[in-house]
């Protein structure tokens, strides 16, 4: 019996010493966790793969400036590389503030807002840099492939949001104040005072967003839904320009003018400022 007890004590001591060792080892392992990779200085850091991987990591960390710095030289080498183009345009769009997840969720309930207001207010405090970043993202996409029909469905989804982003950031930059509400007095007629480039950006973006959306595979309903949107009275001017709405505007700018006015005009489709139906400006 005594020998059994002695054996038990020995076994207990051995097990106890193991537990103590383990309890000391685990904190040491945690401390080791801060060590970095011993091979980190050896990879070929001139390879494009390395930089694409690094840019993607920066993108995940919201370090858009770094992501752009890293991916720009790679993009210069490979402007037709799908993954490179994707990372590059999302880096610029990210810096501009585009967050597709929030837009998608907002689209589920537009009560109290409008389609265009949603995009405009998605870019609070938009300025020239914001608009420039969005336009850069679009230019990267179009340098990759300008024809939406020849692009992948994924790129057309991204493209659709990029174009809406240009539209939204432009309207916000020119028509909203710092607390992200429409600037007092900013109405449909003020659109005529926008720089022509901004006017053109908005109208072209609307057109391109629709074109991209119509080339998303499996989305048979998108085009018809957006067509219905465009047939709304506020937007009919976009396709049926009426010179009476934009007096004194050169003939080749009439459609643009009308389109802009329609976008910001009141109604379920417009941005929600202005005086209701499209009427001639004073």
């Amino acid at each position: 019996m005594q020998s059994l007890m002695r054996a038990f004590k020995v076994h207990f001591k051995v097990q106890l010493s193991k537990m103590i060792l383990l309890s000391l080892l685990l904190p040491c392992l945690a401390l080791f966790g801060s060590c970095s990779n011993v091979l980190r200085d050896f990879p070929d850091k001139s390879s494009d793969d390395y930089y694409v991987s690094l840019a993607q990591i920066y993108l995940d960390q919201f370090k858009f400036d770094k992501a752009i710095n890293v991916i720009t030289p790679v993009l210069a080498n490979q402007p037709k590389n799908y993954q490179v183009v994707k990372v590059a345009m999302l880096s610029y769009a990210g810096r501009a503030g585009l967050r597709v997840l929030d837009l998608i969720l907002s689209l589920t309930d537009l009560s109290g807002s409008t389609f265009f207001r949603l995009f405009s207010e998605h870019f609070p405090g938009a300025n020239a840099d914001t608009i420039s970043d969005m336009k850069m993202a679009v230019s990267i996409l179009e340098a990759y492939e300008s024809d939406p029909a020849a692009r992948t469905s994924e790129f057309n989804v991204i493209g659709m949001f990029l174009h809406w982003g240009v539209l939204g950031s432009t309207l916000n930059g020119y028509g909203y104040n710092s607390n992200n509400t429409p600037a007092a007095g900013f109405d449909a007629c003020d659109i005529l005072d926008l720089p022509e480039v901004a006017n053109t950006d908005v109208v072209q973006s609307l057109s391109k967003a629709l074109e991209a959306s119509s080339n998303i595979s499996g989305n048979g309903g998108i085009t018809s839904a957006l067509d219905a949107l465009l047939s709304a009275p506020e937007l009919s001017a976009f396709t049926n320009s009426q010179e009476t709405v934009c007096p004194g505007v050169a003939a080749n700018d009439v459609q643009s003018c009308d389109g802009m006015r329609a976008l910001v005009n009141e109604g379920s489709a417009g941005i929600g400022i202005g005086a209701g139906v499209v009427t001639p400006c004073p």
Partner: protein
């Protein structure tokens, strides 16, 4: 009307998930003890697990082993970190993208394996079930969910022989079923994710995989030291999977050519080893830093201690015997997720349990720290 538009946009987005390459490069099986030593050991692996790493190692075993329980479970530290972030999802006025931002770029991963087997000198047969799951939320601008999951289960048998006293060759054949998910899902797909949709994109297949290997071992200084070298071709000719139904097929298991060197020293407490492997020699397009695995294994009284570097990230492992015939493994290792070492680490913490009996213990293939006790059984 707005609701209708958004619903249609959802449907359009849901159809835009992409498909990755057609080869699957994941390991067939990962063993916690091997991982503790940097997953290195092409030149010096014995016991039943050799069927996965280098079947030639089966010739080195002198024991008859019956191991009904060989269990490995592990998770990466992001799972623990993420637990504290979950509460933020339901609080505050942040937008959804802001709420999800703590999870960005942090893969949540699980691994597990079960490998009951019987090994005899020169051969083994066993059942295996290995699964790994890796879910990663990426890209704050156009979010996506990288979904990688795989479960293999099947039978494996291997044999090896001494061609010369210094050279062993071996092969193992496994028949396995695989279920896998390898998709990048955009956010619309995620919101519409249903069990039926997961079943739809689940890849199913079965196949035969053949590993062949060779190993050279040369004793030095009497029998006190040895050097060894190994070469193995995993999934010779690529393992294609097929199925009888029309579900999507899993990607074929990629052929890998792996090589390793080892140095061993017999100590009073057992063999100590230094190991160095270069894997996937047939993939020069992959950074060399992702293909280097090194490790050491040192027996100390009551324990086997392991350490190493897995793609440059440190590894540690400890095996001890809780009670006779029941071993416990504690292991941690880091894996590179980027295109080269040092970019992005996924660190795993693993627990291994092994219960079994060895008989007729020999000089080689000593796996248990208290094998002497096991042998007496």
């Amino acid at each position: 009307m707005p609701l209708k538009i958004s619903s249609i946009v959802y449907l359009g987005l849901a159809c835009s998930f992409s498909v990755s390459a057609e080869n699957f490069y994941g390991d067939s099986y990962r063993d916690s003890r091997m991982l503790g030593r940097g997953n290195a050991g092409i030149a010096d692996v014995t016991g039943g697990i050799a069927a996965f790493y280098n079947p030639a190692g089966l010739a080195a075993s002198k024991n008859v082993s019956f191991v009904p329980v060989d269990l490995t479970l592990g998770f990466n530290k992001n799972i623990y970190d993420s637990l504290s972030e979950i509460s933020s999802l339901t609080s505050g006025n942040e937008t959804l993208s802001q709420k999800f931002s703590p999870f960005l770029g942090k893969p949540l991963a699980l691994q597990g394996g079960y490998f009951p087997h019987v090994a005899i000198p020169g051969g083994m047969v066993g059942f295996f079930d290995y699964m790994d799951v890796n879910i990663e939320y990426r890209d704050p601008v156009y979010p996506r969910l990288d979904l990688g999951a795989r479960n293999d289960w099947g039978l494996i048998a291997g044999g090896a022989a001494n061609v010369t006293p210094f050279l062993q060759v071996g092969a193992s054949l496994r028949y396995f079923h695989r279920k896998s998910l390898n998709e990048q899902l955009d956010m619309a797909s995620v919101f519409n994710l249903t069990g039926a949709y997961l079943q739809e994109i689940m890849r199913r297949g079965e196949g035969w995989g053949l590993n062949v290997g060779a190993r050279m071992k040369h004793m030095l200084d009497g029998d006190k030291m040895w050097i060894s070298a190994g070469l193995v071709v995993e999934d010779l000719g690529y393992t294609k999977l097929k199925n009888a139904d029309r579900s999507p097929l899993p990607y074929r298991q990629a052929q890998k050519v792996n090589a390793g060197l080892g140095l061993g020293i017999n100590t009073p407490t057992g063999p100590a080893k230094v190991l160095f492997d270069i894997k996937e020699l047939n993939r020069p397009d992959v950074s060399m830093t992702k293909r280097i695995f090194t490790g050491v294994e040192v027996p100390i009284p009551g324990f086997i201690f392991r350490g190493g570097f897995f793609q440059g990230y440190w590894t540690l492992g400890l095996t001890t015997s809780l009670i006779p015939a029941l071993d416990l493994d504690l292991t941690t290792y880091g894996e590179e997720l980027g295109s080269a070492a040092g970019l992005k680490e996924a660190r795993y913490w693993m627990l291994g349990l092994r219960m079994g009996l060895d008989a007729q213990g020999g000089k080689s293939g000593k796996r248990h720290p208290q094998k002497e006790k096991l042998d007496k059984l």
